[in-house]
Amino acid sequence: MEKHMTVCPYCGSGCKFNLLVENNKVVGAEPLNGRTNEGELCLKGYYGWDFINDTKILTPRLKHPLIRRTRDSEFEAVSWDEAIKFVATRLSAIKAKYGPDSIMLTGSSRGTGNESNFVMQKLARAVVGTNNVDCCARVCHGPSVSGLMVTLGNGAMSNSICEIEDSKCILVFGYNAADSHPIVARRILKAKEKGAKIIVCDPRRIETARIADQWLPLKNGSNMALVNAFANVLITEGLYNKDYVANFSEGFDEYRAIVAKYTPEYVESITGLSAAEIREAMHTYAAAPSATILWGMGVTQWGQAVDVVKGLSSLATLTGNLGRPNVGVGPVRGQNNVQGACDMGALPNVFPGYQSVTSQEARDKFAKAWGVPSLPDKIGLSITDVPHMAMEGKLKAFYCFGEDPAQTEPDLNQVRQAFEKLELMVVQDIFMTKTAMFADVILPATSWGEHDGVFSAADRGFQRFTKAVDAKGDVKHDWEIFGLVATAMGYPMKYKDTKEIWDELRELCPLYYGATYEKLDGLGYIQWPCTTLESEGSPYLYEGNVFQRPNGKALLFASEWRQPLDQVDAEFPLVLSTVREVGHYSCRSMTGNCVALTTLADEPGYVTINPQDAKKQGIRDQQLVWVVSRRGKVIARASVTERTNLGSVYMTYQWWIGACNELTIHHVDPISKTPEYKYSAVKLETIADQTWAENYVQQEYSTLKGKLAKAADSVAATA
């Protein structure tokens, strides 16, 4: 049996393990003593690898390039030469006719790795000539990046995953670590065992709420009001660190003026919390010798998200909980390489290494390195701009790389209409996805397990992962495919391996310069900034309380609370919030093809509801129900549980039949453009004939699987 060292392709915890291989087939996983996982894995790490073997449980692996010559014809298998020529010719024509900004590309936050994302954005910027590149950070921690960039100067976790357990107070805000990052949840448990105080702000009784010293079950949609009230308590009761604020921050007077109104009493009706419990939480937080704030999608997937991030960062600044070990702000990044896609410049406003596209100096540096006369200076489109820009006819081509927006974006009906309006849709993936079904051309890539590279864990930690098995089928590495497209568009680009790409980007990004492949060998873990070859990286940011802002000071920032856009009323009386499930990941194309994970949870997925709400509607546990919003209707299985708060229901977003994004609203944060996945008004309808409903789910599921399989199979027939 062979063993190949890798990093888990699911969440951003950065767990290291060996893939066990027999006869070129992955047969198991064995944990390694990695920096963050210390020999532990969750169920996705242990049992989430068999999708590589093309189990075809949900959808088949792509094995040949596919072209659909007209939108109503079937996919046909073609040679790589023809597929690349097709993409390059069509992209060049659209660029010539409508300009480079009519084309949009995405990065991929998943198994492909940092190198491919670097090459993708190079193709976009140097060859297509647009900054229209973005990744799914937009729909998750985009607000954390935007907010923290403004207040502290760096969008990443300021602390390390390992440091969490040595913090004396953890304020968990809108973050369900047990389901999102089990291996981070482990650190919170260890902190508790070491005597830390745990404060949880979450409407649901999540696992961490169960063990918390204080649980603040705030009303859905009241984040900003609560954060402002926290600041109000810290200031009016003199709990803040006056020296720290005076020496290392700015904007205090304006900040104090805005939060003045948000007394704990004032926000009682907004948050549903008592003034006393709000005060108690801040007394605990301020008294701790070291305190850490962790947040997740419960903070970011709102129409008002960037403001809340800035507010949370200001709490850390007010109390001096930055710039030293075991403190700080931790937006714990969701996907295994969403930090990496951002690090590599798969964002519309920055080159790799967070160098602004609006900086002449940065543009000159990259233009010179890439041998082009100039690079675009206009900030590009966000991935959430795709639907309306396509509908308005401003976006003509969409090159979607390793993402499934037809499953993961809000208001899917609108997304589908937009995809149909595009003149060209290119999908580069490892699976036939719902998005791939809209493509004009599909480029099949090697999967995690079939290639080498570097991932960035949630806490800025670079780690190498290696190939375990040979890819089956006529597929190529993502970075090779981008190189071929660039070359066919008249810009010769060829790399021999990922190290060559990594070395090119290290030279261009001072933040990563010292993180060489050699240092990352084996269990090597280097957290950026790592600016010199001697450096071992930076476990925490802002050492010496120097912030990456013009005058080196942290900004204190507050905003008025805004209520969510969608409104509950007599017809749609419940709030739908979309959440994660521990055993599945994102669009589920990977975990949905893993036997063990599918055995634990499969279609149509659950809608969780409080027993009182369920009783009112006559809904019994495990019954199938319709969930209806102003935008759509899907079927789901009711899970009646006291962990769900009254007036709200929760669905996990990976189900393809019970697809909650048919229901969600396209309302985005004005700055980060992140959708308000956490608040859509819905109603539940009972289904009298449960036998019919069970059959309906099975039929819909088989039809969908059949369609996906046929699309991929037409390949085999003609190839």
């Binding site: 047969v27 049992y47 047990a178 508790k192 169960r210 521990v582 063990a596 055995t599 634990l600």
Partner: protein, 182 residues
Amino acid sequence: MNRFIAATPSKCIGCRTCEVACVLAHAGDTGVEGLSPLTFMPRLTTIKTRDISVAVTCHHCDDAPCVNACPCSAIVYRNNSVQVEQDRCIGCKTCMVACPFGAMNIVTVPMTRHFAGVKIAIGMKALAQKCDLCSGRDSGPACASVCPTKALQIVDRNEMNQTLRQRQTRAAYELVGEAAAL
């Protein structure tokens, strides 16, 4: 004293990694490919209520109701644990009714036998199924080894003695109104 798996609710995050490990540990050589929702019957169950998440399983009682109840003497004490002798089990469910922890389950599985080198189906057999502490698995119970938060632990006499000693010491200090420095 029999060994058993002790579960700590304050460490459990309800992820069910233990359940998958349990089923795989009893699936022979088939590996994950052999799993399916119909045959997925872990010998420990993750319970999640408003205030508790924890895996519940057999206590390997030292005076076990299941052992006492079985009319066929199919449940025995062996190797400091309670084990089911499947050959003698008739699927009468008496043990399932007797167990106060819900740790015993009756499952029906297809039976086969080999005849002249051919595998022949010989109908279904009901079996009393419960935690066997992964008897025969070199590295011990699979659930405890995979639990990412170490919420499951194998407890034996030695382990128990240490815990008892700690608690006795604490109790002694409490007699004089002091906190023990443990």
